[in-house]
Amino acid sequence: MSVRVFFFAALADITGMREIRMDLSGATDVISVFNRLAADFPLLEAHRSSVLFALNSEYARPESPVREGDEIAFFPPVSGG
């Protein structure tokens, strides 16, 4: 299945991109997608303990299941205001 993944702030700096399309095989969850990306971008490991996840513009948990066409986002704790 195909999903779109977005990165923001420091995580976008690490990956060098804001958005990527990923093809995933079989049932998977949000943290598995993060793990796969962390294998490609080892600097993401520094954010593992604080990274926040979103699925289709709503906060998600590491074990939230990912489905075809989902929009996944990885980002640091927010700092607006």
């Binding site: 977005f6 923001f8 702030a9 420091a10 700096d13 604080s50 926040l52 979103a54 513009s57 709503e58 906060y59 986002a73 980002f75 640091p76 704790p77 927010v78 700092s79 607006g80 205001g81």
Partner: protein, 135 residues
Amino acid sequence: MYQLTREPIDIQKIASSLQRPEDGAVVVFQGLVRNHARDKAVRFLEYEAYESMALKKLEEIGIRAKSDYEIRDIGIVHRLGHMDIGVCSVAIVAVSAHRGPAFEACRFAIDAVKKIVPIWKKEFYEDGAVWIEGN
């Protein structure tokens, strides 16, 4: 009224658009770009957002504010992009019959914005720049 904008925030325009004859109070909170942070001099800031989710969260905060406080309406506007010292990065405007709930709703809304809305600021100093992470 919930907006993300790359233009200067016009407080008067937000207040005018919200205000109705039955309102007796308008309370405005403005967040400003400060010239120092973490013991360093700040030259300017850049804000970015996960825009679709940020808008959704601004609206959720507004709906919550209207249900939990006796206000008639609320506006939340956050600016994105480059911002120099002293400019308004975020504005909350609450209108109500009486002042108390409007003050309280503004406080609630800015605290919630800082906690849950996916927006990030990058501080630029003389010797570099750092993305700020919330708690």
